[in-house]
Assembly symmetry: C2
Homo-oligomer: 357 residues x 2
C-alpha cells in the first residue's frame, strides 16, 4: 500500500453490508443497535491523519487512492464507527471537470475565475468516470478492506457548488450567488442543472465502484429561506440524488442550519434526512411527519464539555431517535479540528451500549 | 460640532417621537406607513461613513460623541429612514468596565484574556453611567438633532457578550462557550447574570439620555438549540431587557438564525421580535401567535440583485407584515459593506409608498 498502514479486515457485527446497522437503519428496518458515524470523522481531529497529510495538499490528498483509503479507514479502526465516509472534498468533482481551483489552508476552496455569466457556464462540462479513475480505485480498495462495514459515498449539493463557483470561494453572505439566482433565474437554473449532473455523476462513480450508501452534503443551504430553496435549489438536489436512485443504495441528504428546509430536503428524494444540532430530533420528526429516517444530531461543540454532559445528551438523542422510522446517530455538523478523538470513541461505545436491542 | 457636518433638523412626518411610525408600530398601534430602518445602516456601505472613519479605530469611533452623532445621523439624512440606530459596538460596554479588548479590522473583537474561570469572572464589574459619560453626551446630541425621529438604543445580549469573552474573539463554533455552559452551569449563569447587568445598564444609560426605543442584539443566539437557549440564555436576555422595562420605550429583540427561538425571544420581554431573513414573516407570525410586533426581514444579499427582484420581495414583505400586530420593516441581518446605498434609499421610498394607509 505504498507506505500506508492498512489492517486486513475491519470487524463488523453484520455478515454483509446489506445487513449492516447503517444500511438497515437508513431503510427503516430494525437494527441490533443505533448505527453511528461522524461527519468529518476522517480528518484533522486525528493525529494519524495529520501525520499522513504532512506536506500533501488537500486536493492532491483526495486524488491519491492509497492516501484516500488510509484516511477513510483511520476513524473506522480507531472509533469502531458503523460506516466509513469517503474522504473527499466538495470541490473535487469540479476540479475533475477542469475548473481551475485550489483548496487554500485556512480559507477553503478558491476558484480562479468565478462563474457569473453564460460564457462562464459554457466552460463547465459533464463528469465522466474517466475523469476520476482514482476515485473508482479508492472506492474499490476501501470496499475490499471494509468488508461488511458500509462505505458512504459523498458529494456536495448543487447549491453549495454553485456558491463556491459564483462567489469564487467561501462566502458568509452569498451575495453574488443570490443576486444571480434572483437576477437571472434562467442562467441560475442552467448552472445548477449542470452542477447536479456533475454531483450526480460523482456519486454514481462511487456507488458503481462499491459504495453502499451516499450523502449529498449542502453546506450552505441554511443560508436560504424556504421559499428560495423551493424555487431555486430543490429540483437540482433532487436531480443529483436521482442519479443513484436505481442503484439500491440508501441516500442521506444533509445541510447545515436547515431546520426550515427538512421536509423539502426529504422530498428531494432521500431515505435519510440529516438534522443539524439546532433542531431536536423530536422536532425534526414532527416536521418531516415520519416520512424519512433521521440522522443526527449531537452538537459538535458539546464534545468539548465534560463527559457527563456529553453522555447525558447522547442518551437523550438516542432516545429521541427511537421514535423515528430509522435513526443514524451523527453529529449535527462536522467534527471540529480540536476535538479529543477519545471522546468520539466513547460516544460510539455509548451509542452502541444504550441503543442495544 | 468639531469638524462634523450636522443638519439642523431632520424632517419627520410625526410631531413627536411618541407619534412616530416606529414607536407606534412597535406598540401595535396604527401607523400612516410601515416604518423602516436597517441594521448597520450607519456603517461601511456609506462613503460619508468611510470618510469620517479614516484613521479612527472602531472602539475610539464609538466613544467620540461628535463622531457617533455624525455617523448615526448619516443614514437618516441619506435614506430618510424612520429611526436612527445608535452607532456603537457590542463590546463597547465591556471595554467600558475595563475588559482589555480591541476591535481588529477584518477580525472583530479580540479579548486579551478570555474569561473561563471564576477568577476571570471576578475581574468583571457593573457598568455605571459614570463609565460612559460620552454615551450620554452622544445620545443627547442625537436626540436634539433628530427631533421626532426616534433614536434606537443598542446593546449586545448576554450570550453574545459571553461568547466573545469566553472564546477570546469571534468564533464560528463557540466550543469553549458551550463547554463552559454545559460543564459548569453555575459559573455560566453567574457570568451571564453579570453581563446582563452590564448590557441592561448600557441600554438604560441610552434611554435615560433620550433614546426612545432599544434593540437587544444577540448575534450568535442562532448557534444554540432551543433547549440550550431556554436553559442557559433566555433568563439573562430577559434580565437585560427588564432593565428598561419601566422606562416606557419599546424594546426590540433580534438574533441571527433564530427561527427556532422566536417565541422564547419574545417571552424574554420585548415589544418586537426581530426576524431573520430565513423565516418568512408569515411563518414567524404563526410561530409567535401574534403576541409581538415583528421586525424584518429582507435578505441583505438580495440588495445585490436587480431592482425588480428587490422590489418584488419588498412588496411581499410589506404585505406579509400587515398581518402582524405591528411591523417594522428591516433587513433580516445587517447591511453588507458592499451594498449600493442608493438601493437602500429606494427600498425606504418603496416601503413608504406601498404601505401608505
Amino acid at each position: 500500500m505504498r507506505g500506508c498502514r492498512l489492517v486486513s479486515t475491519i470487524p463488523s457485527p453484520a455478515a454483509t453490508v446489506q445487513d449492516s446497522p447503517l444500511v438497515r437503519a437508513a431503510r427503516g428496518l430494525p437494527v441490533p443497535h443505533t448505527p453511528v458515524w461522524f461527519m468529518r470523522q476522517a480528518g484533522r481531529s486525528l493525529p494519524e491523519y495529520r501525520r499522513v497529510r504532512e506536506g500533501v495538499g488537500m486536493l492532491e490528498a483526495c486524488r491519491r487512492p492509497e492516501l484516500v483509503t488510509e484516511i477513510t479507514l483511520q476513524p473506522v479502526r480507531r472509533h469502531g464507527v458503523d460506516a466509513a465516509i469517503f474522504f473527499s472534498d466538495i470541490v473535487v468533482p469540479l476540479a475533475a471537470v477542469g475548473v481551475d481551483l485550489d483548496i487554500v489552508p485556512g480559507v477553503g476552496p478558491v476558484v480562479a475565475e468565478p462563474v457569473r455569466t453564460r460564457a462562464d457556464l459554457a466552460r463547465l462540462r459533464d463528469l465522466a468516470p474517466e475523469d476520476v479513475p482514482d476515485i473508482t480505485e479508492s472506492v474499490r480498495l476501501l470496499v475490499a478492506e471494509l468488508g461488511a462495514t458500509p462505505l458512504i459515498g459523498f458529494a456536495g449539493a448543487p447549491f453549495t457548488l454553485a456558491s463556491y463557483l459564483v462567489e469564487g470561494g467561501p462566502s458568509r453572505n452569498h451575495e453574488h450567488t443570490k443576486a444571480l439566482m434572483h437576477g437571472d433565474p434562467g442562467l441560475w437554473h442552467d448552472l445548477c442543472a449542470q452542477l447536479a449532473r456533475v454531483a450526480g455523476a460523482f456519486l454514481r462513480v462511487q456507488v458503481e465502484a462499491g459504495a453502499s450508501a451516499v450523502q449529498l452534503f449542502d453546506s450552505w443551504a441554511g443560508a436560504l429561506s424556504r421559499a428560495d430553496y423551493a424555487r431555486f435549489v430543490a429540483e437540482h438536489s433532487a436531480a443529483a440524488l436521482a442519479s443513484v436512485a436505481g442503484l439500491d443504495v440508501p441516500r442521506i441528504h444533509f445541510g447545515v442550519g436547515t431546520g426550515e428546509l427538512l421536509t423539502l430536503m426529504g422530498e428531494a428524494g432521500t431515505d435519510v434526512v440529516g438534522v443539524d444540532y439546532r433542531v431536536s430530533l423530536t422536532d425534526a420528526l414532527e416536521r418531516t411527519g415520519g416520512r424519512w429516517a433521521l440522522q443526527g444530531n449531537l452538537d459538535p461543540a458539546l464534545l468539548f464539555a465534560p463527559w457527563e454532559a456529553v453522555r447525558a445528551r447522547v442518551v437523550e438523542i438516542v432516545e429521541e431517535g427511537r421514535a423515528a422510522p430509522g435513526h443514524v446517530f451523527n453529529l449535527g455538523h462536522g467534527v471540529l479540528p480540536e476535538t479529543d478523538p477519545d471522546v468520539l470513541t466513547r460516544v460510539v461505545e455509548l451509542v452502541h451500549e444504550v441503543s442495544a436491542r
